[in-house]
Every structure is written in structure tokens, then in C-alpha cells.
């Protein structure tokens, strides 16, 4: 499963929650509240699991689906390929 690199992880609305923030393709910051243990950690960097829906190789952009609707309203959004932690192969 692909994971998107979080910009920041802060407290949620209750102890078991966290708010992960990340930017989309256009640089806008999004916030999503998840259970803290849903996030992954690697070398101090936090990652949010996402589903891959489309890959746009021309723009090096990936359309990802969030685990649920973000606080900013998005369910799916475009992010830059480099924000994901596994190589994304676009099939011809």
C-alpha cells in the first residue's frame, strides 16, 4: 500500500487520534484526523496509508484516495509522485 509523507503530525481531538497534514499537488495543506496507530513511522518520518487511483506520468502526479474525508473536504486529491514512499509505476 502506498503511503504519503506527512508534513506534520499533531494532536487529534482525543488521545488516540492524530491530525496528519500534507500538501497536495498545488501546495495546499490538507488535514486528516486518523487513529494515531493508523500512521506509519520510518526514521522519524510519519506516513499516511493511501490508495493509488491514477498516475499521471507526464506531470509526475498521482491521484490518491484518503482513508476517509479530510478536514478540508477532499476524498481524492493529486499529489506529487515524490511525496509517496514507494515507487509508483504507471503502466502503459
Amino acid at each position: 500500500m502506498a503511503r504519503i509523507r506527512c508534513q506534520n503530525v499533531t494532536e487529534g481531538l482525543r488521545a488516540s487520534e492524530a491530525v496528519a497534514s500534507f500538501v497536495d499537488f498545488h501546495g495546499r495543506t490538507h488535514f486528516i484526523r486518523v487513529e494515531r496507530d493508523f500512521l506509519g513511522e520510518q526514521n522519524g518520518q510519519m506516513f499516511l496509508p493511501v490508495g493509488i487511483v491514477h498516475v499521471d506520468p507526464k506531470n509526475k502526479a498521482v491521484l490518491v484516495e484518503l482513508p476517509h474525508e479530510a478536514e478540508t473536504g477532499a476524498n481524492r486529491l493529486w499529489v506529487r509522485e515524490g511525496q509517496l514512499d514507494e515507487p509508483i509505476e504507471a503502466l502503459a
Binding site: R14, V19, D56, T72, G73
Partner: protein
């Protein structure tokens, strides 16, 4: 198609959905399972002071959820003798049960209120009952139990209603998805054209 109690149990048995911890026997009905209220609540506070104007705009580029959380929310732990839910107030609550709906299961769900509470004016969601296929699913982590449901709770009745942790607060209804969601496919494909 709505799953019956037998189909829900069969789905749990074959790993097509997770419901953790197991709901008690009395939580089951023919086509739904009651879920219990977790002890944590969050109360959204009104902005204080006369003439104070607070406008929250999630679509704005400068929107910060952290700021909204810090300014307007208050955590509440339900006391052993309960929490009095006042008329006209709005709370966020969570279920004790965690839910997981892997995409491959082709299951989605809806959270709905219980009629006993609805008759008192208590609602448990604000027009957002859908639990999408894939909810609480963390591929590669078979031990992950899933995610609790968040409830948007309102009291439009005239009475104070006492909430207790562990009380049956809502029900979940499972539905079969027609087709496998696109996100669930492991295959990836390209699209043409620039983004937006």
C-alpha cells in the same frame, strides 16, 4: 443489498470485515449491529464574548484544523455517573468498536441512530452516515483492528439526556458493493492529460 445478521457473522468469519471487540449478543438485530459509546467526547464551543465573530472556512488556503481544534474544542471524559447532553449542543463521540472493511470484501456500511434515542431528539450523524469500502484497512498489517466510527451528536429535543460510556448509541448496517472499487485494484494505470 443489506447483509443479514448471518451474513455479517459469515463475513467476519472469513475475514471480509472486522468488528473489534466482538459486540455482545444483545447488540445484534436482523440487519444491523448496535455499537457502543466510547468514554471520550469532544464539545465544540461557541466563540466567547459579545460581538466575537468566528468564521471557519475549510476550503480556504490558510485553513488550519489545528487552530480550530485548539480554539473551539473541549475534550470531555464521561464520568462514571454519565454526561448530561444538553439541548442545543453538539458533540463528537466515537464508538468503542473498531471497524475494518477491506476493499476486496466489496462491503460498505452505514451508521444510523437508534430509534429509542431518536425519539428523545438525539442524532448521531449529520448527513454523513456512509462508511466507504476500504475504511480502516491497512494493507500489510493483518493485526490492525480498524478504526472507530466518529459520531456527530446533536440534541434537538427539549430534555437533558444522560450519556453513559458503553451504552448502545448507534447501529451499523452493512451493504454489498456492486463491483470492486477502483482503489481496491492493485493494478495501476496511467491517464492522459495534465492535472487540473
Amino acid at each position: 443489498m443489506i447483509l443479514s445478521d448471518r451474513e455479517i457473522k459469515a463475513a467476519i468469519a472469513r475475514g471480509a470485515l472486522k468488528l473489534t471487540p466482538d459486540p455482545p449478543t444483545e447488540a445484534w438485530s436482523s440487519t444491523a449491529v448496535d455499537l457502543r459509546l466510547a468514554p471520550e467526547l469532544v464539545l465544540w464551543k461557541r466563540p466567547g464574548g459579545a460581538g466575537v465573530e468566528a468564521v471557519v472556512c475549510p476550503a480556504h488556503a490558510e485553513y488550519s484544523f489545528d487552530t480550530v481544534r485548539d480554539q473551539y474544542s473541549q475534550r470531555i471524559e464521561i464520568a462514571p455517573d454519565g454526561y448530561v447532553f444538553k439541548p442545543g449542543t453538539f458533540l463528537l463521540g466515537w464508538t468503542q468498536e473498531k471497524i475494518q472493511l477491506p476493499h476486496r470484501s466489496r462491503l460498505a456500511a452505514r451508521v444510523e441512530g437508534k430509534s429509542s434515542l431518536a425519539r428523545l431528539g438525539i442524532g448521531v450523524h449529520v448527513t454523513a452516515p456512509t462508511i466507504h469500502a476500504g475504511f480502516g484497512f491497512k494493507k500489510g498489517d493483518d493485526s490492525y483492528p480498524g478504526t472507530p466510527l466518529q459520531l456527530e451528536m446533536w440534541n434537538v429535543g427539549p430534555l437533558d439526556v444522560k450519556l453513559a460510556p458503553g451504552m448502545a448509541i448507534c447501529q451499523i448496517i452493512f451493504e454489498l458493493v456492486d463491483g470492486t472499487p477502483e482503489k481496491g485494484y492493485e493494478g495501476r494505470f496511467s491517464i492522459q492529460g495534465p492535472v487540473e
